[in-house]
Symmetry: C2
Subunit: 143 residues, 2 copies
């Protein structure tokens, strides 16, 4: 009862598990599923459990360090927050989602009378560089 959680503290204690999870996001530089985080973080923190991943991700989202992302057909992903407006690339071969820089003008798309746009989300589906290089060995998730 002596301590209270503050923004940016990522919880109160600095643990091996939380360190590993945060590093995974910094290393991968792309939106990740909780499963991907689990697998990647286990390389640094053996025995890591999925529950801890969910707890850590929730904490990081609450603190504003992570942002929640949804890509059609890929469910819930998380990416480091604070980046400028961008879109995503969904590799249909390996299933990984990447961040794309830049943005087309969705304003160019005429809306029905009376409709007002506030934001937009664009996902490009295709195959990533790695999968195009070696079409067979569907890339396993790597950092």
């Amino acid at each position: 009862m002596s301590h209270k959680s503050e923004i940016g503290t990522y919880g109160i204690r600095d643990t091996r598990q939380k360190r590993a999870i945060r590093q995974v996001f910094e290393r991968c530089e792309r939106p990740l599923t909780t499963e991907e985080v689990l697998v990647e973080a286990q390389r640094e923190s053996t025995g890591l459990g999925i529950a801890t991943v969910y707890r850590a991700v929730k904490t990081l989202v609450d603190e504003g360090w992570l942002a929640h992302v949804e890509v059609p057909g890929r469910g819930t992903l998380y990416e480091v927050a604070g980046k400028e407006h961008h879109h995503h690339f969904d590799c249909s071969a390996c299933g990984r989602v990447f961040e794309l820089e830049g943005c087309v003008q969705p304003a160019a798309l005429p809306l029905p009378r009376g409709f007002r746009a506030a934001s937009h989300e664009l996902t490009i589906v295709g195959t990533c560089a790695e999968c195009n290089r070696k079409p067979d060995a569907r890339a396993r998730v790597r950092g």
Copy 2:
């Protein structure tokens, strides 16, 4: 065992329930969730159950009359298939999803070296005409 299902038959028998469900899609002219289909179709077919909606939707998708759509944050939707390439509008006020005509050139968005695009999905989020007109009475789903 004397009959077999064929494309376009929408099952074997013509029932009140299936007629109602198909009409809902023709009337609403927008992607619908199974819940929306249930509520709307019940106006014509009292007592309609959700299982029947799922069964009918599955049949219609198999026959190519309906297409599966996913909009971030809205889960699974279904829309009449066969339309030309288009995108969607997600009303953050009433939760309804609409179809938009036309398409911007996503090709304008440069991809990382080696990436190949196959398709794209764009969702514009905002408020629909009806919700803009009467900001309070969040539109209930209507046909």
